[in-house]
């Protein structure tokens, strides 16, 4: 085979590695192709001598510290949550089956709490109205400060979660 008919180096190297007899025969008869193949073989030999470096000595400890500080895997949380839900539902059904007197008392208590809550809400509204009419500007300033601080905190929290 003439040198003019030499295959592309990629075809030659991959073909010879794949056992292509025609290319192997060409490599045996063509000094330049044989030299190119030999160069790749030598490079492969050198590459096979490289090894992975050892991680830092405290690597495992650092990983396990991060694992310990991390929230539990989602799968376990979902399972635990499902368990709690099932137990709660079972207790609820149990109480329901047991009798009506307990539930009647609970209903009355709940209605009373709602009425008291309404009174508290009205009083709170009156208080806020009085505060607004006497000190509107300081109230707005403090509200703005609290809102800005909260938003900044949330932004920092979101940023640190993303980078983690």
């Amino acid at each position: 085979m003439s040198e003019n008919l030499c295959p592309e180096l990629e075809t030659l190297v991959l073909g010879v590695a794949g056992g292509d007899e025609k290319l192997q025969a060409h490599a045996r008869s063509c000094p330049s192709c044989a030299a190119a193949l030999e160069e790749h073989r030598q490079l492969e030999k050198d590459l096979f001598r490289l090894v992975d470096p050892l991680p830092p000595p405290d690597f495992t400890r650092m990983v396990m510290a991060r694992v310990a500080a991390a929230p539990a895997p989602l799968g376990r949380e979902v399972k635990a949550g499902g368990g709690i839900l099932v137990v709660s539902l079972a207790l609820f059904v149990g109480f329901l089956v047991r009798g009506g007197t307990t539930w009647a008392g609970a209903g009355v208590g709940f209605a009373r709490a709602l009425l008291e809550l309404r009174t508290v809400a009205v009083a709170l509204g009156n208080g806020l109205t009085a505060l607004w009419s006497t000190a509107a500007i300081p109230l707005v300033a403090i509200s703005f400060l609290v809102l800005a601080t909260t938003l900044f905190g949330l932004k920092r929290l979101a940023g640190s979660t993303q980078s983690a």
């Binding site: 160069e39 490079l43 590459l47 470096p53 376990r76």
Partner: protein, 191 residues
Amino acid sequence: MMLASETPSLPWKADVVAARRGDRSAFESLVRSVQRQVYGLCLRLLSSEAEAAEVAQETFLRAYQNLGRYDEERPFDIWVLAIARNLCLDLLRRRTKMRTQDVDEMREVLPSSGANQEEGAIAKQEHRSLEAAMSILSAEDREVLALYYVQRRTTKEIAQIIGVAPGTIMARLFRAREKLRRHMTAAEEVQ
């Protein structure tokens, strides 16, 4: 006593199952079994010891948090290496410029199995030239070389880690090796 035929074909499976139940020592055993490969791949891709350690730690944290999604029939090391590789590529995309100082540090740090005392200074110099030429290659070239030659992984395993067809790996390897050869030849001519 366990017979050879009883040897588990999925050695990581018991630890994965235990770790899913919250057994941290089982997870630690999984970390120890693959930490060198994970850190090694990170270091070759990132060229920075500090970043490699950080990303390798993050890799294991992600693995721990996503153990529920892991299919234990697949090799654990392949799964973790794929996570590490994705995190490294994310970091490389975020980088604006290559820090040559770290590359120099890496050349000093990465070891060679052949560069022992008997082989002496010439072998060490050759090893350094190889590492230096490798550090100039793209991350895609470095990862395929590291996985095939350093970690001795099969083309099928590499394809699973980087998410490409197995048939493309040999061609990728050739192209990466050819670039490496050209870099090394150019460096020798300069000297």
